[in-house]
């Protein structure tokens, strides 16, 4: 008969525990913070999980992180007498822990600093502060806008709209524009039978409205911005695009290349004095997909227009505001489309440097 093996008592390393909490606070990571308090937490004395093991490395700061002022501040807050005693008491109690609100507030603010708005929203939410904080960000952003401080206003609107996210909190970076996949396709959902029906050919005011609605994905924010003159909104869009898409200039260059290809294509057709379909048949079914390849900067194998659209919307969200769908024979492609003297393409640098004749 086998003898019962004496169960070895788990010893929780308190210093490591404090470091894990401080790291979660510093990174604004409410998910990891909650996990540390959960019933399966490696810092609970009765679980078989060990914080020292490799699988929990992500919960601990590396040497670089430990040397930052933000980490040191978080560590001091965690280790303050009252908070540390509270943490230990909660970890020792066999029930759901009640999180210390002073640390949750630090987490929320740090998440905003790190642009992790879903995490910030969840942390503020648990403190019942999310909507108040959102309103305050909007308020101060509006004050900045009234004073002509566009960068500050854009930052305020980005945070305020970011706090609206209703996703569950997760630490991965969010897309540049929320719901870009569905929203971009919705903008181009109906095929434009006439040029005027193309979203990028809209009157300036409507086009700017569309841009703000799509880029901010927040009806409240757009309603607020509508109070400002068109020039202010245009400057806002320019700053917003610069912030969410630092590679916008690369797209602008590609856009001009695509315009050149469109002109070449049009010229070839004129010389042949044939219909578009004749042209395609003559080229044995060739479709000018190189136009949308030029826009995206790469080829999607057997890619259809909407696949190019989704990738374009992911990489350069604002691009979808200046393109249109075009049937070419039995196929459809994306083409650059804008009103050259319209204000929005002008402020975003698309109208300058267009090839002659475009």
């Amino acid at each position: 008969m086998a003898r019962a093996v004496a169960k070895q008592e788990k010893i929780v390393d308190l210093e490591l525990t404090a470091k894990a909490f401080a790291f979660a606070v510093m990174t604004g990571d409410i998910v990891n913070f909650k996990f540390l308090f959960s019933g399966l937490s490696p810092v609970r004395a009765w679980t078989s999980e060990q914080l020292e093991t490799e699988k929990y490395e992500y919960l601990l700061p590396n040497a670089d992180a430990e040397s930052t002022a933000a980490y040191k501040g978080a560590y001091v807050a965690v280790r303050s007498d009252e908070t540390w005693a509270y943490i230990q008491a909660e970890l020792g109690a066999k029930r759901n822990a009640q999180l210390p609100s002073e640390l949750v507030l630090m987490i929320a603010d740090n998440a905003v600093r790190a642009a992790k708005y879903t995490l910030a929203a969840q942390a503020y939410e648990s403190l019942r502060l999310r909507r108040k904080m959102q309103a305050e960000f909007f308020k101060q952003a509006d004050e900045a806008l009234a004073q002509g401080d566009i960068p500050k206003a854009v930052q305020g609107y980005r945070i305020a709209t970011g706090l609206s996210y209703d996703y569950a909190a997760f630490p991965e970076p969010l897309p540049k524009v929320a719901n870009y996949q569905s929203d971009a396709l919705r903008i181009h959902g109906r095929y434009p039978e006439r040029a005027q029906e193309c979203p990028s050919i809209m009157p300036e005011e409507m086009h700017t409205d569309l841009a703000l609605n799509y880029l901010l994905s927040d009806a409240t924010a757009v309603t607020r911005l509508r109070e400002y003159p068109l020039e202010t909104r245009l400057a806002f869009v320019k700053e917003l695009v610069a912030r969410i898409d630092p590679q916008w200039d690369v797209f602008v260059a590609r856009y001009h290349t695509a315009c050149t290809l469109v002109l070449e294509f049009a010229e070839r057709m004129q010389h042949q004095k044939a219909t578009l379909e004749d042209e395609i048949e003559e080229q044995q079914g060739h479709v000018p997909t190189q136009i949308m390849e030029a826009l995206l900067g790469r080829t999607i194998e057997n890619g259809l227009w909407w696949q190019y659209m989704k990738d374009l919307a992911y990489e350069h969200p604002a691009a979808v505001l200046f393109i249109g769908r075009q049937r070419v024979g039995k196929h459809e492609i994306l083409m650059p489309r804008l009103v050259a003297d319209s204000a929005l393409p002008e402020v975003l640098g698309l109208a300058q440097g267009l090839p002659e004749g475009a």
Binding site: S101, D109, I159, A219
Partner: protein, 193 residues
């Protein structure tokens, strides 16, 4: 009396008393839907206005769908009343009664989620297949696709309305100095520009 904010009231949505009969429900629905359709036709429909109109249409559709059917209406009202009473019971508990708190809190949490999912998200979408609703609102697949996201946001909004008045349980009650918060917001904006 317990607060009812957040527990969607479809009688109120139709501007009716809580004992209105199906005939009144249909009449009020048709009148409000007609007004809404006329309003949509008269204004320039921007993306944000489209979202507002869509939500109004979806909740009107859900209201008539739930209230014109006796069985659905009774089930809806009973669930709503039970939830309001459950909230009152939980919030009225003495802090020292931890055991009872531990029973009521998860029960309330689960029931409020289920109520909002059913009556704020599912019913407006189910209503789209009702012939009366189809006729009055011209609801189609595209509407349903767009409304799904809006209804989810609306459900969250109502859920937050409810959560904000409940006792703190996930975190300790925070001591918020609002002037400090305003300064923090200003610092965050300055620091991140």
């Amino acid at each position: 009396m317990a607060s009812e904010a957040g527990y969607i009231n479809y009688f109120e949505r139709l501007g009716l008393a809580n004992d209105a009969h199906p005939g009144e429900v249909r009449k009020a629905y048709k009148k409000l839907m007609k007004q809404l359709v006329q309003e949509i036709a008269q204004v320039e429909v921007t993306a944000d206005r489209r979202a507002q109109f869509m939500l109004q249409m979806a909740t009107l559709n859900a209201a008539v769908f739930v209230l014109k059917d006796k069985e659905r209406r009774e089930a809806y009202w009973a669930e709503r009343q039970a939830l309001i009473e459950l909230e009152a019971e939980w919030c009225g508990l003495d802090d020292s009664d931890e055991a009872r708190h531990d029973v009521l809190r998860p029960k309330f949490d689960s029931e409020v989620r289920s109520f909002l999912s059913k009556y704020v998200q599912e019913m407006p979408l189910n209503a789209g297949s009702d012939h009366e609703v189809l006729e009055a609102s011209h609801w189609d697949v595209a509407h349903a696709r767009h409304a799904t996201q809006l209804l989810r946001q609306y459900r969250h909004h109502l859920h937050h309305d409810i959560l904000e008045r409940l006792p703190y349980h996930e975190v300790t009650e925070p001591k918020i100095d609002w002037s400090e918060r305003q300064k923090t917001v200003a610092e965050l904006l300055e620091g991140l520009c």
